[in-house]
Subunit: 325 residues, 2 copies
DNA sequence: GTGATCTGAGAAAAGCTTTTACCAATCCCT
DNA sequence: AGGGATTGGTAAAAGCTTTTCTCAGATCAC
């Protein structure tokens, strides 16, 4: 303790926190000695008194980390400046495990909890609605009167289809995931709005092989073929691009392919690299982090769902040129 | 506080912790009331006294999470039963950021730190050697006298090549990553030991396109072609499998392809799905977690490097049959 | 020179839990 | 029935900070 090295005990606290009255030379001396001996206050004791642990919990059921990691990065990025550390708890849709983790976090007096997941329209398997700490939902369904951050899939889909239209495509098909996903319906809705109903929507699963198979289906049908494929995610897009190449259809010369998610490992490795829609998950995490911090500090935050805009990432699978470049 | 609801204050503690002497009916009553009002002790106060926070830090520079997530899952899995929560700190090879996170964790009195990374032969950009909390290294280079867990890449490579030999392959080529990676050299060493020096080792980068290009190189050369490709990771293997298919070479009938990493998103989506080597990162994380806990509790742990065996995952890219099935 | 004001610093309490010490009351034994 | 042991429970200290209160000494005004 700095007190031993220097003078008193409460004086030290006041010196280091720039609070209370005292001679400036005493203050400086205490600070200097504290720095010399590398004194750092015990956050547990501090938290015990201040009711703030400078700790938050991130709860996720996205085992694979596709969505959680960018969100986590954004949260950490936003909060590290405020001295806040993040507990990561991966619960695998296991309610019991989830409850254990939530209890452990509450015991450790987290200042707040951020819940995230892999699906906008599903709840985590644990009820967080009546905790005595603030809860923010990010990329997962929240409760009544909660603060929820999500990507604006409608706007993202519009971005994609408008891009295809802008570069001259007219027969745009939509290959996507299971229709019971909310984001699938939202993206399909935006697709219809922009592209009309000239081409079918093919619902399937979130896999490369479905993208592959969907192309087979489309090209087996009689009549004119699509000149663009708006795919529900990058994996489907990759499968579709592969299938087109194998049929001798040139991407992007003959057909443009556009994905969704900007999952680098898939999008950048596709031949050609995928133009796709990025959901800005890191920004989403950042805002969720700042919001839970605001709530923890008692600042008022309007409840409701906040949609964050997506961004178009132009690579080579559509042709066309990047805007402003 | 349970005391208010029930009887005293220190009695409550003893009742709930099954310690001290007291009437069993009092003990039961306190327990019951505590359960009724949902009392949970404050871990901060408890930690202040016991010098144990039941919290550890996981430090990683693997932004992408390919290695960190399984390790994290293993750690969490092993420690959740002990009531330990995990701070995840992603430092992006930024020494200043790393130091901030380490300081924040120390302030919060973590019981220990696990350092992990994306490369066996690189250090994290922060010195953890003289902390007053135990440090365990997992999948990253540790310091002198530290405890380090790593995958046994030599054994893993041997597993792969022996498998190829066992299913009758004789001309086994090795396409792998940059030679300055320790694991590349180790895997190549094992490859040479098992397969001899009949085929060349092609060093390149960790990408699908390198796998693709390497196949071009091999097949352009005059003479007999390889009948098996041992690839340094799954991405290379996928690129190679794609290149073979495009050349009309049948996988696995004509050529077996085997990967390394068992990165599901790549290995399972390859056509055909990749037989590959799994580094058992989750198990690695589990052991690292239990070890740091042991150290935190003062139990002695022999310092040194512990190599964990890899496991062969048989899918369809090699032909042959899965062992015992 | 004396009462009022100010200044610098220390003492003490609070925050919550666990542990040790302690104190009545009961019990047993002779 | 009286002394020692046992029992059931409370009081208090410790762990580390921060904050509020208090106090001694100095300064100032008249």
């Amino acid at each position: 303790m700095a007190a031993a090295a220097a003078v008193s005990i409460s004086t030290a606290s006041k010196a280091l926190n720039d609070t209370g009255r005292m001679g400036s030379e005493t203050r400086e001396r205490v600070k200097r000695i504290a720095a010399e001996i590398g004194y750092r206050p015990n956050a547990l004791a501090r938290g015990l008194l201040s009711k703030r642990s400078f700790t938050i919990g991130l709860l996720t059921n996205d085992t694979y980390g596709r969505f959680t990691l960018p969100v986590m990065a954004g949260i950490s990025d936003a909060l590290v400046d405020h001295g806040v550390s993040v507990f990561l708890c991966a619960i695998e849709d296991d309610p019991a495990l989830a409850q254990i983790h939530v209890d452990a976090m509450l015991d450790k007096q987290v200042d707040g909890i951020i819940a995230t997941g892999k699906r906008l329209d599903r709840r985590l398997p644990v009820d967080l609605s009546n905790l005595h700490v603030p809860v923010v939902y990010a990329f997962t369904e929240g409760t009544q009167n909660s603060v929820t951050f999500r990507s604006d899939d409608e706007q993202g889909a519009r971005l994609a289809v408008e891009w295809l239209v802008k570069i001259g495509r007219r027969r745009i098909a939509h290959i996507t995931g299971p229709e019971d996903f909310f984001s699938v319906r939202e993206r399909a809705g935006a697709y219809h709005e922009v592209a009309g109903h000239r081409e079918p929507v093919l619902y399937g699963v979130w896999s490369e092989s479905w993208g592959h198979e969907a192309v087979e289906q489309l090209w087996k049908r009689p009549g004119e073929k699509p000149d663009a494929l708006f795919c529900g995610n990058d994996q489907i897009a990759r499968g579709a691009a592969d299938a087109l190449r194998e049929r001798g259809v040139k991407v992007p010369q003959d057909v443009s392919v556009i994905g969704f998610d900007n999952w680098e490992i898939v999008a950048a490795q596709t031949r050609p690299p995928l133009t796709t829609v990025d959901m800005e998950l890191k920004e989403l995490g950042r805002q969720a982090g700042l919001t839970v911090l605001a709530l923890a500090e008692g600042r008022p935050v309007e409840p409701g769902v906040r949609k964050l805009p997506c961004r178009l990432i132009v690579r080579q699978s559509c042709g066309g040129k990047a805007p402003r470049g």
